[in-house]
Every structure is written in C-alpha cells, then in structure tokens.
Amino acid sequence: MHELSRTSQIVEAVLNEAQKQHASKVVGVEVDIGDLTFLGLEQVRFAYKVLTDKTIAKNSKLTIKRVRGRGSCGSCGYEGPLSYLNDPQFHISVPTFNCPRCGNPLSISAGRECVIRRIRVMK
C-alpha cells in the first residue's frame, strides 16, 4: 500500500550512504520485507526502478528477502512460523495469530520488517 513512500525512503537512505562513502555507483541493494507488511514486492521493484533512474543507483540490483511471519507462544512455548487457515473457499492464505500447537494468541516475532540490510557500491 505504501510502496512508493517506503521505496523513496529506501532510495534516499541508499543514496545518502553512497555519498558518504564517496561511491561513484550503487551496484546493489539488499532489503528485508516482512510478509505481514502491506508492501507489494512487484510495486516496490517498480518504484525502485523509477526512483533510481537518473541517480548513481540506476540499474542497480535490488534483492528483496521475504521474511515469513513468525510468532512465539506465552502459553506453551511454541516458537516458529505462523500457520494459515485453509479454507478452499478463499483463494488467499489467511494467516492466524493463534498458536498452531495450543491455540492461544501468539506474539509476533518476525514478519513486520522493512529493513535495508546492505548496499554494494563502486568507488
């Protein structure tokens, strides 16, 4: 939903860092994006391409790592991926925030990230 504004944050941070490093070119950028955010990866890629045009990051490779939703259970100690409701009526996977082992609510430990991990630059 906020791909353009999030991606402009990404591009801005990348260009700032590249300038600090006196880089002549940004070759690649790696970001982690959680499954529980509302960022559509196709739109992020498209926005990235548009926003880096006419910058030193033009044609750089954007690598997106999808981070799956995970949770931990205060009741039974489960720590692991979220499970999904499987109702064939819906052609979508609906996640549940309940523990797959005991059914109690989980606290979410991963899947909400939007983080720039590293950038690769050329001097």
Binding site: M1, A13, Q21, R120
Partner: protein, 227 residues
C-alpha cells in the same frame, strides 16, 4: 610517506546498513505511549472501513462514559470537520486531524494532536483512524487499545479479507447487526472468523444506531461508566 591501503576507483564493496525504515514511526508511537502513561490517560484507537460506524460507536461510548471520564476525541479524515462536529455536539473537546491525502493516521500526527490538548485534565482519548482496513495496521500510534469496527453491510468476507488489521486488535466490534437479516450475512460467522485469526481479540455485536451492545464494547476495552 606511509602507504595506506584504500579502495581504488572501480573497486566494489559492501556496506552493512541495517537501517529499519519503520523505526521512525515506532519510536514516536513509543513516546506517545510514555506521555499518555505519565498523565494517566487511556487512549483507544478505533479503526474500521469507511461507513462501518466508527463515529457512531464513539458517540455512544461518549454518552455512556462522559459522566466518569474527561474525554477528548481525535478525528482522522482526509478532509472535512463533519465527524468532529458530530462528536463536539456531545459537549466534549475534539481535535480534527485532516490527513489531506494519507490513508491512515501515523504516530507523528497523533503526537501533534496531543500537543493541542492539556493532558493533565483528560482521562480518556478516542482516536478515530481514517476509514481504512489496510494501512492503519502498519502504523502503531501509541494507544493502549485498538478496536476494529466491521459492519455486516460490508459483506460476509470482510474479516478474512483483512486479517492483518486483527493482529493487534483488542476488540472487534461487529456493527449493524439489525441489518444482518436483510443483508443475508451471518454476524456470528464474522465473529468466529475474527477469533480464528486472533483468539486474543474480543468480539462484541452492536447496533450503533440504538446503542445496543455499546456497554459491552466499553467493558471489553476496560473502560467502565462507574467505578
């Protein structure tokens, strides 16, 4: 002259950044939370689709609770003061937050609104988010509790189509239950869908035209008309 080894033009190297792009909002949300706590103010974020009944719910909660609590309502909308006028007609202070184009409130807008009121004479704040079931989920505001209003007129699949909004929802309000029959929507199914997604979310059924169920919403939010 000592030799120093430096990267030369054309060399490629990696820089670890670990820059969290959600940090800016989350930090301000935490500041809001601390500020509210310091003044002993409870804040409730009310989310839901356009026309689901958020303002009507807040109107009834104000009527129920205004003798015990000193209440302020923040109203997020793209434009207009229509809703905040509805609520200020009940004799409580409102702060209109017009987002202009943004589809959700963020922690910074709420911080600005907090700056417009005297927290030392306030007990309870209702923060009505912009009508939207998607974006507000990504932007914590620093409230104590989050409520989501879903009405039966939005159809039978509203909950499963918007699972993420329930990840942090303390209460789900299934509204307009008087229209469930004509709409041919099973309100109980909407409630069980919420529970399947998040067992922590309490489900309350309301008709915010008449006020039916509103006192149960207040109890579920841990705000009570009497001590």
């Amino acid at each position: 002259m000592p030799h120093t080894v430096q990267s030369e033009p054309g060399e490629i190297f990696d820089i670890e950044l670990d820059e969290n792009l959600k940090k800016a909002n989350d930090l301000i949300a935490e500041e809001n939370r601390i500020q509210l706590k310091k003044h002993g103010v409870q804040a409730i974020d009310v989310m839901g689709a356009v026309g689901s009944g958020k303002t009507s719910l807040i109107e009834h909660l104000v009527l129920l609770l205004r003798s015990r609590y000193r209440i302020v309502a923040f109203k997020g909308d793209l434009t207009s003061k229509i809703d905040s006028e509805r609520i200020s007609n009940l004799g409580i202070q409102t702060v209109q937050i017009n987002t202009g184009r943004e589809c959700h409130l963020d922690a910074n807008l709420v911080r600005k609104a907090l700056g417009k009121i005297d927290l030392s004479v306030i007990d309870l704040i209702f923060i009505e988010n912009v009508g939207n079931l998607i974006c507000p989920a990504d932007f914590p505001l620093g409230s104590d509790k989050r409520a989501v209003v879903v009405s039966v007129t939005e159809g039978p699949y509203m909950v499963v189509k918007h699972p993420f909004i329930f990840a942090d929802a303390d209460v789900a309000v299934i509204n307009k239950i008087d229209l469930a029959g004509p709409m041919n929507v099973d309100a109980n199914k909407l409630g069980s869908d919420v529970q399947a997604i998040n067992a922590k979310t309490s489900v309350v059924f309301t008709n915010c035209r008449t006020g039916q169920g509103v006192s149960e919403v207040a109890s579920a939010l841990d705000i009570h008309p009497t001590l």
